[in-house]
């Protein structure tokens, strides 16, 4: 920053992530609308008991939709969080930690979600 130019190459905000954020954001809206329609208009009586949920997951489209939704939301949320953290202007070292942390958190929660969906499907 000595002379006003900070172009040390690092994976801060970039074209790819920006585009991905808008894309996942848009897809989240689309899937959310489908999710709401299916949950509240097509399924009779909602999903308020365990048996209902398990029955709901027997249709193979549902787990696929839910997993897609999970991946999109987690990606979008963590990229958004990263944007907020980047505005704190972390040093390269801290940024690397943030990147690893977010990737681990993201993959972890996606794996957990998929495991959960498979458990529920398996109970049918």
């Amino acid at each position: 920053m000595r002379d006003g130019f900070d172009v040390t190459p690092r994976s801060g905000e970039g074209a790819g992530l920006w585009f991905l954020k808008i894309l996942t954001g848009f897809l989240v809206i689309v899937v959310l609308i489908i999710h709401l329609i299916v949950n509240h208009l097509i399924v009779e009586g909602g999903l308020l008991t365990y048996t209902d949920v398990v029955r709901y997951y027997q249709n193979p489209i549902i787990p696929i939709m839910e997993i897609a939704f999970l991946i999109l939301v987690v990606t979008h949320a963590l990229m958004g969080l990263r944007s907020v953290l980047l505005d704190l202007h972390p040093s390269n070292k801290v940024l690397r930690l943030i990147n690893y942390g977010l990737v681990v958190l993201g993959l972890g929660s996606i794996a957990y979600g998929i495991w959960l969906v498979l458990v529920i499907v398996g109970r049918g």
Partner: protein, 128 residues
């Protein structure tokens, strides 16, 4: 030589809407709802873990969330999602250079939709 006045602590000034234009309100709202929804996402994933623990745990959990405090929380999530999503549409299209000059009208329009939807969901949730 005088120092640059910026520091990460200025972060808090983001959330100071005094003397700011509509665009900043949108930015502030988007940040707050975004962070809130991220927290909710992980809480939600943890809560859904109850499904794995069998019928009793999950049905007990559903009984718990039917009380008004949880319903209010749920309404907050719906409101945040609506605001963030609709504002996201605005940011998305203006980011591609579409309707940039109309961003204020767009914001007012979309937020009107959000408010109507929030009121609708509130009435629906609390009268059932």
């Amino acid at each position: 030589m005088a120092e640059h006045p910026q520091k990460p602590a200025n972060l808090i000034k983001w959330f100071d809407p005094r003397n700011k234009s509509l665009g900043s309100w949108a930015f502030i709202l988007n940040r707050i709802t975004g962070l809130g929804l991220t927290v909710y996402l992980f809480l939600h994933l943890i809560m859904l873990g109850q499904l794995a623990r069998g019928p009793e745990a999950y049905d007990g959990f559903i009984a718990l969330v039917k009380n008004p405090i949880f319903l209010a929380g749920e309404l907050l999530v719906i409101a945040a999602a609506l605001i963030h999503g609709l504002n996201g549409i605005r940011i998305g299209i203006t980011s591609f250079g579409i309707a940039g000059g109309k961003q204020k009208q767009l914001f007012i329009g979309l937020m009107t939709v959000a408010v109507i939807a929030i009121v609708y969901f509130a009435i629906r949730m609390f009268t059932h």
